[in-house]
């Protein structure tokens, strides 16, 4: 298992895509945080978020540093579906015919990779948040726990979503289809469910990740629409996310055991 993990690690280390995705994750973390102080400041007249003097709102800026989790999911997809795209699956399963070991090592290495992406990008997000907030003299200081909460949530999200990605890449061998479906799910379907069926939506991955950060942002727009967020608490959200990871890992392994390798 250790040798297989080393082999999987080398595949990531020598893959340009891995580093490209890391750059993307960092970029998304910066883009998700740097403009926020300006947005919140500008929206004050239209949305009753409060102002940057509210520490909760400053926390919300920092917490967006963990926004790059989609790249952890894509990383997981590439770890598995990439084998079929490059036709390297045959070589992989010839050198390690026990599929449960191969899948196990892929799940572990992808999870570590996902954590790595998220910790690095969240660090960049914190830095960009601090720089952007520095332009507003009246901005409150964040609650100290926002950093550890966000880092913990980012790490958990990175691991879980990378595992989900490996499962997806095992089920859908086409890398492109797997990536596009996951983007559609996270950015359209899941958000629509959360918007229209919030009682169901709060159990879906994106809301669970937000729940892990313990972020509570509430406001009402000038048209009276309530835009408050209502997530599960951090501990149940974390356990449900771990449950997702375990279920999808089991699905990936059982699928891989049954299928022929082309």
């Amino acid at each position: 298992m250790i040798r297989l993990m080393k082999s999987e690690y080398l595949k990531l280390l020598y893959s340009r895509t891995f580093w490209g995705l890391l750059v993307g994750t960092i970029g998304l973390a910066i883009l998700s945080t740097a403009p926020l102080p300006y947005v919140y400041h500008d929206l004050q007249s239209r949305v009753n978020f409060g102002s940057l003097t509210n520490p909760d709102l400053v926390d919300a800026v920092y917490s967006r540093s963990a926004e790059g989790y989609i790249f952890a999911l894509i990383l997981g997809v590439l770890v598995m579906a990439g084998e079929f795209r490059h036709s390297t699956a045959v070589a992989t399963f010839l050198s390690a015919p026990k599929r449960i070991s191969v899948l196990g090592s892929k799940l572990i290495v992808a999870a570590i990779g996902g954590v790595f992406y998220m910790l690095v990008s969240t660090g960049f997000g914190f830095a960009s948040s601090a720089i952007a907030l520095g332009y507003y003299a009246d901005a409150a200081d964040p609650h100290p726990e926002v950093f550890i909460n966000t880092l913990a949530a980012a790490a958990m999200a990175g691991a879980v979503l990378a595992i989900l990605g490996v499962a997806l890449g095992t089920l859908i061998r086409s890398q492109m289809v797997a990536v596009v479906s996951s983007l559609l799910w996270l950015f359209i379907i899941e958000r629509l469910i959360t918007l229209f069926l919030p009682d169901i939506g709060k159990y879906l991955p994106t809301s669970l990740i937000a729940g892990m950060m313990s972020i509570k942002v509430q406001g009402t727009t000038s048209t009276g629409v309530n835009i408050s967020t209502d997530y599960l608490d951090a501990i149940p959200a974390t356990f449900i996310l771990i449950g997702y990871a375990a279920a999808f890992a089991a699905l990936a392994i059982s699928t891989s055991l049954r299928r022929d390798i082309d």
């Binding site: 045959v90 010839l94 050198s95 390798i261």
Partner: protein, 233 residues
Amino acid sequence: MAVIEFRALTKKFGQNAAVNNLTAEVEQGRITGFFGPNGAGKSTALRCVLGLASPTSGEALIDGVHYREIKDPLRKVGAVLDSGGFNHGMTGRTSLKIVAATAGIKDARIEEVLDLVELTQAADRRTKGYSLGMKQRLSLAVALLGDPEIFVLDEPSNGLDPIGIAWLRGFLRKLADEGRSILVSSHQLAEMQHTVDDVMIINYGKLIAEGPIADVAKGRSLEEAFLQLVMPK
């Protein structure tokens, strides 16, 4: 002594039997040619031997066990199934390093196999720029990494030029002379006539001839014997 055994191996895709009740053996220390028309089931049978495809019934064994049960498969069996199995963004050397890592094979062996397949000078180029022949040599290098005693090669001469084919012939002969056993499929019958000791011929998934080449050819060329067996008048 048989090192590879097909025991009533059948592999169906839906209702279609790609391999149909195949029973045959590959003897130790010999080069066995595995021949058949396109779609005859050669590659499917080899994939069953190597644990990549699950037989519908019957079994395929290596040294009496299923491939998936071999503890250190790279050191037992070297396989070439296709020449496209490399990440094109990586170099030949990196591709070997990744495979070697799964068996704890040292870097020095990577240099040895690169030298054996005469690919040392191109080892640090991305495989995207490799010719088909170079990819075949790299596939052979992967098969050689664990210094195995058994080789399963699916059309290894694909893409090789005449010099490469001559090189492959000498290479396989050298491996067999060292006591290794080789099961090799190919469409290059004229070439294989000078390389193999035994033959197995299948058509529509069924074994139609097996034995030492002289017994199967019966004074004809291998190509003539093959054509008469698969296209009887």
